[in-house]
């Protein structure tokens, strides 16, 4: 006589969960391969994608943020810099202190994005205060000076000491 064992409801559930997991894994691996594919874009395609992203997404986000951060009037313009990429230049009708505070907020919100805030109002910060603001903005924006081709600290210091 053949012994037939019926699977318990829990074993059945386990089987369903395993199948479900396998299906999910299959989909995830499919999605991951799709995510990986943009890396295989050509340099030109990648540059175009990046350009679209910076222009359409970041530019629009900066404008939206400005609406929230200030009630005073401003103009936003953009230009492409050979080294820094898309640069956003904002001219605000406020004094220097207000403008630098605004720039600090923008630097916090958009780290890595080159933003320049210029003001039309009075310069009501001392040189030391201006330097402090610039250091804070640089720290928040994560932008630092870039060495160009041929830059060599060891050589520069050696030549400085030989002079």
């Amino acid at each position: 006589m053949e012994l037939v064992t019926k699977p318990s409801p829990f074993e059945g559930l386990g089987y369903i969960l395993t199948s479900l997991r396998n299906v999910i894994f299959e989909h995830v691996s499919d999605i991951i391969s799709k995510i990986k594919s943009p890396v295989e874009l050509t340099v030109e395609e990648n540059a175009k994608l990046r350009q679209w992203f910076t222009k359409e997404v970041i530019g629009e986000s900066i404008k939206q943020s400005l609406k929230l951060l200030t009630n005073l009037s401003y103009t936003v313009s953009e230009y492409d810099d050979e080294i820094w990429g898309r640069v956003y230049e904002i001219i605000v009708h406020m004094d220097a202190k207000q403008a630098l505070e605004l720039e600090l907020r923008l630097a916090e919100t958009f780290p890595g994005v080159p933003i320049v805030v210029k003001w039309t109002g009075e310069i009501n910060v001392s040189e030391d205060e201006l330097a402090d603001y610039l250091v804070k903005i640089m720290m928040k924006s994560h932008l630092r000076a870039k060495a160009l081709l041929g830059f060599d600290a060891v050589r520069f210091v050696r030549e400085e000491r030989e002079d």
Binding site: D81, I83, W84, P114, R144, K146, A147, F151, A153, E160
Partner: protein, 77 residues
């Protein structure tokens, strides 16, 4: 306590410097060992001199460049 020479300060700051990785390693080791890093007034003088004389070898972020340009305009006026 460790005296950090000018070339390490500069190479550490500029990621594009040929010795950046070495400088970063030195700083990392000193940090891990809990050593206080010091510079001298000579380092500050050398930094000022090198950055003034070699301004064509590095690019300032647009924010700083804009201020430098504005200041220059004031001095020219």
């Amino acid at each position: 306590m460790a005296y950090v020479d000018t070339n390490i300060v500069i190479a550490y700051y500029f990621r594009e410097d040929p010795n950046h990785r070495k400088a970063a390693k030195v700083v990392e080791v000193l940090r891990k060992e809990g050593k206080e890093m010091i510079i001298s007034p000579l380092t500050l003088t050398e930094l000022h001199s090198i950055f003034s004389r070699r301004s064509g070898t590095y690019a300032l972020p647009p924010r700083i460049r804009a201020i430098a340009y504005e200041k220059l305009k004031i001095y020219i006026c």
